[in-house]
């Protein structure tokens, strides 16, 4: 079943000279882990905002086409109703932290929904545990590191029990360790809690081990969508995307013209094992 269905979506911000999204049609299945790629200005953030209903409900502007999240048509639903289905973590995640302490931050969205206090307490504890922030309930949000603030923003949306989690460039402020930990967390949420994940990411090597779907946007339109391998093969065939390929696929596509076709590598280990096998075959051929 498709969780997100977008058909013929075009959108222009108020006073903008040209549309940010043009005739976007797309399906993301329930339980998918989708990564959204494209150059700056290609429409990635606008698409995230449209899925979360902030476009057009908050930003206004001119929108054509349809966006369904779950069973809800975003143009016919209030932004609060959509927020119960879609959790959005903004690129500037600090701008969505509004309270003094960690536990107040996670409770904020639930209090606004009128959830009972005992249930709020339970969900705050659960959400902080999911993102590895247990024990920091009383800590001031301002005292958290960038990575911890990002995880707190995620906990705040997880507490509202969304079906879909949308994250806009979630690793831009993180060190390599923090970026890997965040993707491990998203993978757990996707696998164990069955959340549908959509993440905007410039560094596709981070999403590659976990993603089931890549979507490439260009000039506000979907240029290519499919399995990670399909999209990376496509990007590899276009000179202007050469530097956007994960290093793993730069290596694969750089070696394939002289060697047999390799598998659809997702991890360094997969690549190393296949290359070792290739070397062993060559050595065996030499010995024979």
């Amino acid at each position: 079943m498709s969780e997100i269905v977008i058909s013929g979506l075009s959108y222009t911000y108020p006073k903008a000279a040209k549309p940010s999204l043009q005739n976007v049609s797309l399906k993301i299945d329930s339980g998918a882990f989708a990564a959204l790629a494209g150059l700056n200005g290609s429409g990635k953030t606008s698409l995230c905002l449209a899925i979360a209903g902030a476009v057009p409900h908050y930003y206004g502007g001119a929108m054509a086409g349809q966006v369904y999240t779950g069973e809800v048509k975003t143009t016919e639903s209030g932004i609060c109703e959509i927020a119960n289905i879609v959790g959005l973590v903004l690129e500037d995640y600090e701008s969505q932290l509004v309270t003094l302490t960690v536990e107040e931050e996670v409770a904020f969205g639930l209090e606004n929904r009128g959830v009972e206090q005992s249930e709020i307490n339970r969900r705050v504890k659960e959400a902080l545990q999911m993102v590895g922030l247990s024990g920091k309930e009383k800590q001031q949000t301002a005292a958290l590191s960038g990575g911890q603030k990002q995880r707190l923003a995620i906990a705040s949306v997880l507490a509202t029990k969304p079906q879909i989690l949308v994250l806009d460039e979630p690793t831009s402020a993180l060190d390599p360790e923090g970026a890997s930990e965040l993707y491990e967390l998203l993978h757990r949420l996707n696998q164990d809690h069955k959340l549908t994940i959509l993440v905007v990411e410039h560094d596709l090597s981070l999403a590659l081990p976990f993603a089931s779907q890549f979507i490439l946007l260009a000039d506000g339109s979907v240029e290519k969508a499919g399995s990670p391998a399909e999209v990376l093969q496509y990007m590899g065939s276009k000179q202007h995307y050469a530097c956007s390929l994960p290093p793993l696929w730069q290596l694969k596509l750089g070696l394939e013209p002289e060697f047999s076709s390799f598998g659809d590598w997702k991890t360094d280990d997969e690549a190393a094992n296949e290359l070792i096998h290739c070397l062993e075959k060559l050595e065996a051929g030499k010995s024979a």
């Binding site: 700056n40 831009s172 360790e177 923090g178 030499k286």
Partner: protein
């Protein structure tokens, strides 16, 4: 050019952010500073710029202690580009933005505009003189911030995570600009989390961990001989695969292009070409 001797600094008593740090930066060097969030990288650059002063130890610039210098004095010699360039822009046009620094040190308006135009050309923003800085793309803003620094003719340029949030095309363009500036003799200190940039672009790397320097040397040696994960770093793909292929005769390379070349060379050897 720049020398840290046993420098320590703390924002709060008994909570050191930088401890007993010694290092030198020579004219024209291209150095990366890496480490976990909170390891002291940004504080290191704030110490260089005299935005904060050492609690212990000395910092020398051209042999003179920087204790007596204000940030404005250091800004005449050292350019600083923030991670978020929007935070250092407050004019209505790109040319005004870039001319601001020269005007502050008493250069005539005509000369300041001339210097600003030259700086914009150096970063590939000629034709953008009247552009509104906030309307530029992330990559363009970052280059505008570099132009503002260059307009003061610095000898050292410090950049704090300049490529974060940029797409790969803008990133490649920006790194080519830094290569070009380095070839012209500018010393560069680049703070980055991007291990591929490190492996492909920068010869010397300083690793910070818990406020101290734990490695200072060749980037290739860092990845070839050290367990970088313990410092919160990640091995680039080429390094991980290189290590696994080395028992099979493939020579080490920290870059993808290098690894492709080594793999092909090994294969030619194997089949006796």
């Amino acid at each position: 050019m720049l020398e840290f001797n046993n420098v320590s600094f703390s924002y709060h008593k008994n909570c050191p952010v930088v401890s007993d740090l010694s290092l030198t930066v020579n004219p024209g060097e291209y150095i990366a500073v890496v480490g976990r969030n909170g390891s002291g990288k940004t504080t290191l650059t704030r110490l260089i710029m005299s935005l904060v002063k050492p609690v212990k130890g000395t910092i020398l610039f051209d042999g003179e202690t920087t204790k007596k210098y204000a940030p404005a004095d250091m800004a005449r010699h050292i350019g600083y580009v923030f991670q978020n360039p929007s935070r250092q822009m407050f004019h209505d046009t790109a040319i005004e933005e870039v001319a601001f620094g020269p005007l502050q040190i008493g250069i005539s308006k005509d000369d300041a505009i001339k210097q600003a135009k030259e700086a914009l050309a150096k970063v590939g923003l000629n034709g953008y003189e009247t552009a509104y800085p906030s309307g530029l793309s992330k990559g363009q803003k970052q280059r505008l911030a570099v132009a503002s620094a260059l307009s003061m003719a610095p000898r050292l340029l410090i950049l704090d995570e300049p490529t974060s949030g940029q797409d790969q095309q803008d990133k490649a363009l920006f790194l080519t600009l830094l290569d070009h500036l380095h070839q012209k003799g500018l010393a560069i200190i680049l703070i980055t989390h991007d291990m591929n940039i490190l492996a492909e672009k920068v010869a010397r790397t300083i690793v910070m961990c818990d406020g101290t320097k734990v490695y200072d040397g060749s980037t290739a040696n860092l990845f070839q001989f050290h367990d970088v994960e313990k410092w919160g770093l990640k091995k680039p793909t080429a390094v991980t695969i290189s290590h696994k292929l080395s028992p099979y005769g493939v020579s080490f390379s920290p870059t993808v292009d290098g690894l492709i070349a080594e793999f092909k060379a090994n294969e030619r050897g194997a089949v006796g070409v």
